[in-house]
């Protein structure tokens, strides 16, 4: 089920198999909406654009971990979306058992996820990176982690869809004819906050600059007095920690089941590559472009076309700007 199709439902279905909601029905409702002088088609399009921006902000939260691992550390962490789903389930457990707010639960999950990232990098380093042959083997390693994570989640939690409860799931702000469902708006704001924070860390701190430099020339970084392995370990820990927050946002937006992460692999990697590998500003722009395109296609044509058309739009953009939107090009 593509997320773009489901995110408009005012209240996410409880743990039942979610039916794909045709967005055209939502569109028709807008047509009948309280007359406020706006051209109905314009209103429909504006709503689709705003919904797409909110969706794009969420995509960015998933992609930011990949932007760090793939774009800055040269670690092909294909399993990242699986960690996002793992984060979603951790948040669900905390919400279900203790009634914790999902975002607070996501923040509580940061330390264990950071630790998981540190351990995972240690294993990756010992098995592949330190031996120098890390391209294809590394990819296979993370592909394996993806499947193992999924299976473990199914065994531990089951294959059902899970949802969380929070005061901002349900209410809808309507400003000048534009719908702002809080369960999309809150995740979008949290995502922007997280990415802004990471951006500051990377550009303003010594360790952040070392993270930016580490894949460009590890030996030169050593000569600056930094350890490339320790730098990458920390950065990969950060990258996996973002999955805890992204997971919280995911389960706020829609019900989650263990293999749902697969839907994001293509999108998240496309966003990172299109954004220019490791540029946060580019990644945000790419995520917004993807979100808006998907949302417009879903509104005007059919939700099931959205991913294909969105990618059809991404590919030529990549062909024209091979370095991505905002990559640091030489």
């Amino acid at each position: 089920m593509p997320i773009s199709a489901s995110f408009r439902r005012a209240i996410p279905a409880a743990s039942c198999s979610p039916a794909v909601v045709d967005k055209r029905s939502r569109g028709k409702r807008a047509w009948k909406g309280k007359p406020n002088g706006m051209d109905p088609l314009l209103e429909l399009l504006l709503n689709a654009v705003v919904a797409g921006l909110l969706l794009g902000a969420f995509y960015a939260a998933v992609a930011v971990g990949i932007a760090i691992a793939f774009g800055m550390l040269d670690i092909p962490n294909l399993a990242h979306p699986a960690f996002v789903v793992m984060g979603a389930f951790a948040v669900w457990l905390l919400n279900d058992a203790f009634g914790l707010d999902p975002i607070l639960a996501g923040i509580l999950c940061l330390p264990p996820f950071f630790l998981l990232g540190v351990l995972l990098y240690q294993a990756y380093y010992a098995c592949f990176e330190s031996r120098g042959d890390n391209a294809l083997q590394g990819l296979a390693f993370f592909f394996g982690i993806l499947f193992v994570t999924e299976v473990v989640l199914i065994l531990v939690i089951g294959a059902d869809y899970r949802t969380v409860a929070a005061p901002y799931i349900g209410p809808n702000w309507r400003i000048g004819g534009i719908d702002l469902p809080l369960r999309m708006l809150v995740p979008a704001l949290v995502s922007l906050l997280m990415i802004g924070g990471l951006h500051l860390l990377l550009t303003r701190s010594f360790i952040g600059r070392a993270i930016l430099a580490v894949s460009q020339d590890p030996l030169a970084l050593q000569l600056m007095g930094a350890s490339p392995v320790r730098t990458k370990r920390l950065a990969f820990g950060l990258s996996i920690a973002t999955a805890a927050i992204a997971g919280a946002l995911l389960i706020i937006i829609q019900p989650v089941e263990p293999s749902i992460g697969r839907e994001f692999i293509g999108r998240a990697f496309a966003v990172v590559v299109l954004g220019g590998m490791g540029s946060f500003v580019g990644m945000l722009m790419a995520a917004m472009v993807l979100g808006v395109t998907e949302s417009l296609v879903a509104t005007l044509f059919s939700p099931s076309w959205a991913p294909a058309i969105a990618f059809g739009f991404l590919l030529p953009t990549l062909a024209i700007r091979a370095g991505g939107l905002m990559g640091r090009k030489l």
């Binding site: 600056m224 930094a226 030489l330």
Partner: protein, 243 residues
């Protein structure tokens, strides 16, 4: 207080290939010492050993810094950098997709240098006005001469006591070589450094060196206690200048 370096009986190599065969040399406090030698004689390997990037098989590398002697052989690179030893590596090794300013800032990574970041940047921008103009430019898009200046500046940002420079003249036009070497002398004087410089450009290196060594097949083949002594040397004519 200035710092000095004493290398004794150093043996090192790559795998089974021995590159340094019992090399010994000293760099006295406040001296500029030239390490002369043609391609493949082990100059860069010696620099890597001093910085802990290559592990010696035998011998010792002792650095005396502010009256305390440290054994560098077998130490980690980070710890060696932390002592106040910096290398301007062969080929400059800048971070090509980071800006000039970001490259310089990373130079101040070692904990003792972080507090002096602002002062260090000011110093570099004053010493190399070109870098100030280009502070936002990506290092990889700078000219060879500018890159060499940046590499020097980046090494100075760590506030070193001992500065190692590996072939600063490579790839530079003759006029720029002269200017770069002259700059090293200037920096050495104003920052009170001890300098060991590997060079193939014999004439330029000797224009600022107090003393020099000629390295042949990983051993010191000649020790010149003054630039004049090196200039007159038979060995240099034969091995080095090919005369």
């Amino acid at each position: 207080m200035a710092s000095s370096l004493a290398i004794d009986g150093l043996e090192a190599g790559y795998g089974t290939v021995r590159v340094l065969n019992g090399l010994s040399l000293t760099v006295g406090a406040g001296e500029t010492v030239a390490l002369l030698g043609t391609n493949g004689n082990g100059k860069s390997t010696l620099m890597k050993c001093i910085m802990g990037l290559a592990v010696p098989m035998a011998g010792s590398i002792r650095a005396e810094i502010d009256g305390v002697t440290h054994e560098l052989a077998g130490a980690r690179t980070e710890d060696i950098v932390s002592l106040g030893i910096a290398l301007v590596p062969e080929g400059r090794r800048l971070f090509p997709r980071l800006s000039v300013e970001e490259n310089l800032t990373l130079g101040a990574y070692r904990p003792a240098a972080r507090a002096g970041l602002r002062r260090g940047l000011e110093y570099c921008f004053e010493a190399f006005p070109r870098l100030a103009e280009r502070r936002r430019q990506l290092a990889g898009s700078m000219s060879g001469g500018e890159q060499q200046m940046l590499a020097l500046g980046r090494a100075l940002m760590s506030e070193p006591r001992i500065l190692l420079v590996d072939e600063p003249s490579v790839g530079l036009a003759p006029l720029l070589v002269k200017r770069t070497i002259e700059k090293i002398r200037e920096l050495k004087e104003s920052r009170n450094l001890t300098v060991l410089m590997a060079e193939q450009n014999f004439v330029q290196a000797l224009s600022i060196a107090d003393r020099g060594y000629v390295i042949v097949h990983g051993e010191i083949a000649f020790t010149g206690n003054s630039a004049a002594e090196l200039n007159d040397n038979e060995l240099i004519r034969k091995f080095y200048m090919g005369l």
